[in-house]
């Protein structure tokens, strides 16, 4: 076999590209889109969740319809449909100039995520005992006040673990953004590999960065869950608090 096409894994190439600006730029793109889409998705998802549990039939079925569409079609199709499709339909310069790949990615992923967050939010809201709403109402709170001050803060505790899963899933799903030509982490590795044929090395670099981000995020999530559990008798020990304790830290 030709020397140049040796199948051997080249660690030097791997290390070089692990901290390469091309990869970093892709990683940064992935993080930006994931974070912004997630924030958008959570906010819209909570609104949809409240609509779904509301007694107003128009609100609850509108939210149901929303979830039905965004959960029922592949995200890659949604990207194609609303990025290229809308550009075809709306032939105005002002729209074409502003409907950038990046904005389309954030908005479409955010809209998609909202459908999943709506279900998580609904489960969270329904997990709060009905007596809580009774008590809030009996004190003269409006539905909105009760929702914001009493129900949601309790629902959030139930919502955090599945929301963490959603974040991780979203992070990985941004790799389909190659469909609309965004160079995020996976696509950056792919483009580079097609130049130097170091597929194994470059895809490994991408894998390492995904794992790094997920690991850091998981630790932060565990810490958040611990904080939210404040006031519960048995505070769950998290990886983070355990590590701190083992290292001789003072927190319990």
């Amino acid at each position: 076999m030709n020397e140049l096409l040796a199948i051997r894994f080249d660690f030097d190439t791997f290390w070089d590209f692990l901290f390469d600006p091309i990869i970093f730029k892709g990683l940064w793109e992935t993080l930006k889109i994931t974070t912004l889409a997630m924030i958008f998705g959570v906010l819209l998802g909570v609104v949809l969740a409240i609509m779904r549990v509301s007694k107003n039939p128009v609100a609850s079925s509108a939210a149901g319809l929303y979830v039905w569409f965004w959960r029922g079609t592949p995200v890659i199709l949604q990207l194609l449909l609303f990025f290229f499709g809308l550009k075809q339909l709306i032939d105005e310069d002002i729209f074409r100039d502003n409907w950038t790949r990046f904005r389309a990615a954030v908005i479409i992923f955010g809209l998609n995520e909202a459908a999943y967050m709506a279900e998580i939010g609904r489960a969270g809201i329904l997990s709060v005992e009905s007596g809580q709403m009774d008590a809030a109402k009996s004190l003269g709170m409006t539905n909105l006040q009760a929702m914001r001050r009493i129900i949601l803060p309790q629902a959030v505790r139930v919502m955090v673990p599945p929301t963490g899963n959603e974040f991780i899933a979203l992070l990985k799903n941004t790799s389909v953004l190659f469909a609309i030509g965004i160079v995020e982490l996976t696509n950056a590795a792919k483009l580079q590999a097609s130049r130097n044929f170091r597929f194994m090395e470059l895809y490994s670099v991408a894998a390492v960065w995904y794992l790094m981000v997920v690991t850091v995020f998981s630790i932060a999530q565990a810490e958040l869950e611990r904080k939210l559990a404040a006031g519960e008798r048995d505070q769950p020990e998290t990886l983070f608090s355990r590590v701190i304790k083992v290292m001789g830290g003072s927190r319990g």
Partner: protein, 254 residues
């Protein structure tokens, strides 16, 4: 203004096919303490929840201080009020629940100040001052910053009473306030309720505590199968009930 704080006129309530209230009529006077007595399923809790519109009515009228809660009358028919109007009226009626229903994410004092701040738009410092007074009054001066799950059932229920009182209600509804408590904790909650009664609060209490009824109530209303069977001052009703159903019920619980 009439003498009656609460006027219940022919109240009807159904849950699906089950008729829970089948025409309840009674009045509660200002400053009166009324104990609602009856077997489970007799409709007493439902009646209480209809008074502050946690349940809708299927017929009849309930007036608190001469105003309907949750409804307005339009061409002789009942129309449900707007959310904000309902909330405003509920704010004047305190309610204490069997399962306490404290807000677990807030401390004791946080539970008490929440509604005064959000609903009455009271300044935080004023609300905290009021909450301190009330929590001290119910004997929990040392527990203000505890979360509910660090309090005993009796302590939780006393926080719940303080929470309701913080809205300075003109009427207090108690839904089996001691039924979920260990026997040794019942007394501390009843003591707070007795004190409240002595201060002249209008109270409607669903309870099986016959001792409380005998000692504190001005009147006992006995309900069975969704109607008021008889009502009388406690000694009269408890010692010489007129109706068979009352006698039968009392013989079972005394």
């Amino acid at each position: 203004m009439t003498e009656a704080m609460v006027r219940i006129e022919d109240a009807h309530k159904r849950f699906g096919k089950l008729e829970v209230l089948r025409g309840v009529t009674t009045n509660i006077a200002r400053g009166e303490v009324v104990v609602l007595l009856g077997a489970s399923g007799s409709g007493k809790t439902t009646l209480l929840r209809c008074i502050n519109h946690l349940e809708t009515l299927d017929g009849g009228r309930i007036y608190v201080d001469d105003e309907m809660v949750g409804y307005r009358e339009a061409k002789g028919k009942l129309v449900e009020d707007k959310h904000s109007a309902i909330a405003k009226k509920r704010a004047q009626i305190g309610m204490v629940f069997q399962r306490f229903n404290l807000f677990p994410h807030l401390t004791a004092i946080g539970n008490v100040i929440e509604a005064p701040i959000r609903v009455k738009k009271m300044a935080k410092s004023d609300a905290e001052e009021l909450a301190r007074q009330l929590l001290t009054k119910v004997g929990l001066a040392g527990k203000m910053d505890e979360h509910p799950n660090r309090l005993s059932g009796g302590q939780q229920q006393r926080v719940a009473i303080a929470r309701a009182l913080a809205m300075q209600p003109k009427l207090m509804l108690f839904d089996e306030p001691t039924s979920a408590l260990d026997p040794e904790l019942v007394g501390e909650v009843l003591d707070v309720m007795k004190e409240l009664a002595a201060e002249g609060m209008t109270m409607i209490v669903v309870t099986h505590e016959i001792g409380f009824a005998r000692e504190v109530a001005d009147r006992v209303v006995f309900m069975d199968e969704g109607v008021v069977v008889e009502e009388a001052p406690p000694l009269e009703l408890l010692e010489s009930p007129q109706h068979e159903r009352t006698k039968e019920f009392l013989s079972r619980i005394l």
